[in-house]
């Protein structure tokens, strides 16, 4: 449920780094609690992003959840497939694969301070709210 090769934030995003590119999605825990996703408000490719600032939002049948950027940089790619309503369920069914959300190009791709899979599982078992 929580792949070993990813890192995790306290706000329930997963992050993967390849070179200077971070890939981001929401975790299994997050999708389970937010419910069926009906819209992904993806940012524009090339848009600058700032660590801690709002990056995008996702809408489920009863809630809109905002997602924050883990780093400074710019949007390198977005998961265009999610613009098609029929593909949105990938965020629920395959959150670490076809359900990825954005890629961010950054000069500071270090994610070692984020939680690994074991720590994240411990975090959600202990209550799971952001702190």
């Amino acid at each position: 449920m929580y792949p070993e090769n990813l890192r995790y934030t306290k706000t329930h995003e997963w992050i993967k780094t390849e070179g200077g590119i971070l890939t981001l999605g929401i975790t299994f825990y997050a999708q389970e609690h937010i419910g069926e996703i009906v819209f992904a408000g993806l940012p524009a490719v090339g848009a600058p992003v700032k660590k801690g600032a709002r990056l995008m939002d996702i809408e489920s049948t009863k809630a809109v959840a905002e997602i924050f950027s883990p780093c400074d940089g710019k949007i390198a790619a977005v998961n265009d497939a999610l613009l098609d309503q029929d593909n949105l369920l990938a965020v629920n069914k395959d959150p670490y694969g076809d359900g990825w959300l954005v890629k961010i190009e950054t000069e500071n791709p270090d994610i070692s301070t984020l939680m690994d899979a074991t720590s994240y599982e411990g975090f959600i078992k202990s209550g799971g709210g952001p702190s």
Binding site: H33, F39, T61, A63, V64, G129, P130
Partner: protein, 260 residues
């Protein structure tokens, strides 16, 4: 759950003001989770059609809205269009630090107990809705989803949430009287959709006036305050806005005036 809450009755205001104020309180709570949760009740003048955060503007007959003097505003929350006319709207801003769970379903289930208690005060027994529809109408009230509330199987209260960090905004409408014919004029329907919506409104929704006769917003306000106080054991403090909330409100109003 935390017991000391702030309470606001901000009276009648434009849709732009109302949605900007919801976001200003929500935004301040996200940055200051230690301040008490807030319950606000408010009304809309002029009447206003609020549309979902990602709803297509093409679904709305904006020209007809203008002709009738009805504002159109985009909500921070999702879903589809709601006509705010004969009703009272509530909004709750609370943080996960205040004892509300992360799960959308479980948080709705807890907060909606306050609404159930409020309607009991009005002599109306309502229940949570657990089933979920998949094909959404452009008109919010004919869609029933998890954590809406129903009276004898017909939707009576619709609510939605937004999440920002630890903060939760939940708002919803307590409808005194639906006006489906007016609502139909404000949406771009073809004839088939129009007919279906007319049928759906009468089959799937109900309002307070139909159940209990003439109802005024003051009665609903009183019931909401008492329902929340008693069910959760809350102590409300009538409160003014924090300075930062007022500044946020002023900044956000112009954003809400721009319909994109």
């Amino acid at each position: 759950m935390r017991k000391d809450w702030r309470f606001f009755d901000t009276g009648e205001s434009s849709g732009f003001f109302n949605m900007a104020l919801d976001e200003a309180i929500f935004d301040y709570k996200e940055r200051n989770p230690e301040i008490p949760p807030a319950l606000r009740v408010f009304r809309w003048k002029p009447a206003c059609l609020s549309i979902g955060r990602h709803q297509r503007i093409e679904e709305i007959n904006t020209a007809r809205c203008r002709e009738l003097g009805i504002d159109v505003v985009r909500r921070l929350t999702g879903g589809t269009a709601i006509l705010h006319k004969e009703e009272l709207t509530y909004s709750i801003v609370i943080s996960q630090d205040d004892g509300i769970p992360f799960g959308i379903g479980s948080s709705f289930m807890i907060l909606n107990q306050g609404l159930i208690a409020a309607y009991q005060k009005l002599g109306v027994k309502i229940d949570l809705i657990f089933h979920q529809e998949r094909n959404f109408s452009p008109a919010c009230f004919v869609n029933s989803v998890m954590a809406d509330l129903s009276y004898q199987g017909r939707k009576i209260i619709g609510s939605a949430q937004a999440r920002r960090g630890k903060a939760i905004l939940q708002h919803g409408v307590l409808v005194i009287r639906h006006e489906p014919d007016l609502m139909l004029e404000l949406l771009n329907f073809d004839d088939e959709q129009r007919q279906k919506m007319r049928e759906d409104f009468s089959k799937k929704t109900v309002d307070l006036e139909t159940i209990r006769g003439k109802t005024c917003w003051q009665e609903i306000k009183e019931a909401i305050v008492k329902g929340f106080e008693e069910f959760f054991g809350l102590e409300f403090a009538e409160s003014g806005l924090m300075l930062e909330e007022k500044i946020g409100l002023q900044k956000l109003i112009s954003h809400y005036r721009r319909l994109e």
